[in-house]
């Protein structure tokens, strides 16, 4: 557990915020898809920390800066949203298994719905060194409306190919982000392609169904309520098929949050 200090906590959308926290250098380097458990140090509210996916991090000789994009959904995130610069937070992490970069798959498609943009943007940034040459990177973002398309500044300046879809058509195409996929995957070689996705469970379920006949592999980062973040409380269980195709309970916090999309038992959610 580390104590960090807020450097900014800005409102971005209707219930969306962008927070940066300064941490001591001992904080380990996170990989995209990993998360932290975070709570205000002076805590008069919820007992448990909240899991937040890492949006960005920077390290120099003296400090680590972690950034988060989050949406206010309950009391815990509401209290986080009220923190002002210099306020202290307790952070446990980085936690979980992030996205696994498959170097042999040169065609990478990143797909984010809603707040899924946070880890996907981190991943895009992480992969950008490999953009160009033989590697190709395409990014699809979806949200309810243009007001909720956030956190794309870093992606916009990248050479990647950015596609946007909104439910109300106020930005990009009208409809779910998964509707963008057929066009993007058309004609691509499933052996050289991989999809990295994060978003609401309904979106990921649709994605799983859509991808099943194509043979294109996909790593999906999923969400569940958590108490401990380290695999002890077993609160965030998800049914997953193992290599022998047996169904096992896995912890989203420790075994995930990133799983192969075809391993998740979507019918049991």
């Amino acid at each position: 557990m580390c104590t960090g200090r807020i450097t900014f906590n800005n409102q971005l959308g209707p219930h969306h915020l962008h927070m940066a926290v300064r941490l001591p250098v001992k904080f380990p380097d996170p990989i995209p898809g990993q998360f932290v458990m975070i709570r205000p140090t002076r805590n008069a509210g919820p007992l448990l920390s909240r899991p937040l996916s890492i949006y960005n991090y920077e390290r120099d000789q003296n400090q680590v800066i972690l950034e988060f994009l989050y949406r206010v959904v309950g009391r815990g995130t509401e209290l986080l949203s009220q923190l002002t610069p210099a306020a202290e937070v307790n952070i446990l992490g980085p936690l979980g298994r992030g996205f696994r970069i498959e170097k042999t798959r040169s065609h990478r498609i990143l797909l984010a719905g809603g707040m899924g943009v946070a880890p996907i943007s981190f991943l895009a940034h992480y992969l950008k060194g490999q953009v160009g040459g033989k590697h190709e990177l395409k990014i699809c973002l979806g949200a309810k409306s243009c007001a909720e398309i956030i956190g794309i500044e870093r992606i916009k300046v990248m050479q990647g190919f950015l596609n946007i879809a909104t439910d109300d058509g106020s930005m990009g195409s009208c409809g779910p982000v998964t509707d963008l996929l057929p066009n993007i995957t058309q004609g691509c070689d499933p052996r050289k392609t991989i999809i990295y996705a994060c978003g609401p469970m309904a979106m990921l379920k649709t994605l799983a169904e859509q991808l099943a006949p194509t043979g294109i592999p996909c790593q999906a980062s999923i969400e569940e309520r958590m108490a401990c973040g380290v695999g002890a409380c077993l609160g965030c269980a998800v049914a997953v098929k193992n290599r022998r195709k047996e169904i096992e309970q896995k912890s989203v916090c420790k075994d995930g949050p990133v799983f192969n999309i075809e391993d998740i038992c979507w019918d049991q959610l």
Binding site: M1, R39, L47, G76, N90, C228, C233, L234, C236
Partner: protein
């Protein structure tokens, strides 16, 4: 010889005995809140703990309940994990060798759907070696069979306890449910049947509703409440049980700090378990051990026995 023997010559003020089980301090991790120990090893020096009580073990692996399994509530949380566990054989093969390397007592929490299952699991754990005591879970509120069905009937508690005592020479702790009218009667039933100690309380059955969707927050509908919200109830029950039995009482329920732990000792608990606090602060157990030490120094108390059951009324 210049070896300093001081460390060995001066036993820690914090040592306690639970039946034949000697603990270096009275702080244990509550079952189900500390995994199999390994999960917290990056954050906690496991050698410093009085005991590690592992997640409840059944004869066969259990997948537990469907998600959502947890929900935070004011000053606490509800859980309905449903005793997901790897099963006793896999525990012995995959988890116990890791735990054996620590100089900390390992207590296996045991669950069964039937008395026969309780006994079989206890036999297997006893034969395995490396387990220092058994905690019998007759109080899980989140399973359809066994668990609390045994823990709300003194005759059933007695039957399970006597049965377990017959198949093991390890100290037996019976973990009691608070979902009863008379906790002391349950403690006495366990004591009369030969229990070496009782631990209390397990979680209190509760529920929480999403008013927008009008659905329960937990898939299981009800769950067990833990955390600071239940501490006053736990404390009252520990006090009631401790004044009625002669075997050690182990206090559990909402202990977040050394001050909380001390309340339990003062009302009669010989040891305590830290549960939900581990989720909030992985180092909670260590902070509590250090806080108890500091309190004893400040009050010139030399041994735990001079503190236990010293409530002034």
């Amino acid at each position: 010889m210049t070896t300093n023997h001081k460390v060995h010559d001066t036993p820690s003020k914090l040592t306690v005995e639970i039946g034949s089980l000697k603990l270096k301090n009275p702080v244990m991790t509550a079952s189900g809140t500390f995994g199999y120990g390994e999960e917290y090893a990056p954050y906690v020096d496991l050698d410093r703990l009085g005991a590690i009580i592992v997640k409840g073990l059944s004869l066969k692996p259990r997948r537990g309940n469907s998600s959502p399994r947890i929900m935070e509530t004011p000053a606490g949380m509800l859980n309905a994990i449903g005793l997901q566990n790897v099963g006793v054989k896999s525990f012995i093969r995959d988890k116990l060798p890791y735990l054996r390397q620590f100089a900390t007592a390992i207590i296996a929490n045991v669950y069964g759907e039937t008395i026969e299952e309780y006994l079989r699991v206890c036999e297997i754990l006893t034969a395995a070696g490396g387990v220092h005591a058994l905690e019998i879970n007759v109080s899980c509120p989140n399973v359809k069979k066994g668990g609390v069905a045994f823990g709300t009937d003194p005759d059933m508690i007695a039957e399970v306890t006597a049965g377990v005592k017959g198949v093991t020479d390890l100290p037996v702790i019976v973990k009691l449910s608070p979902n009863v009218t008379d906790i002391a009667a349950m403690a006495k039933a366990a004591e009369a049947a030969g229990a070496d100690a009782v631990s209390l309380i397990n979680t209190i059955t509760g529920m929480s509703v999403d008013v927008e969707k009008r659905i329960p927050h937990l898939k299981n509908i009800t769950g067990g409440l833990s955390g600071p919200a239940i501490k006053p109830i736990a404390l009252r029950m520990v006090w009631q049980a401790a004044s009625q039995v002669h075997i050690p009482v182990i206090g559990v329920g909402g202990i977040m700090s050394a001050a909380d732990a001390l309340e339990f000792f003062i009302v009669g608990a010989r040891a305590i378990q830290v549960g939900t606090a581990n989720f909030v602060e992985p180092r909670a157990t260590i902070n509590i051990i250090e806080g108890i030490e500091a309190y004893m120094k400040r009050h010139n108390i030399d041994e735990m026995d001079s503190l236990v059951g010293t409530l002034r009324i």
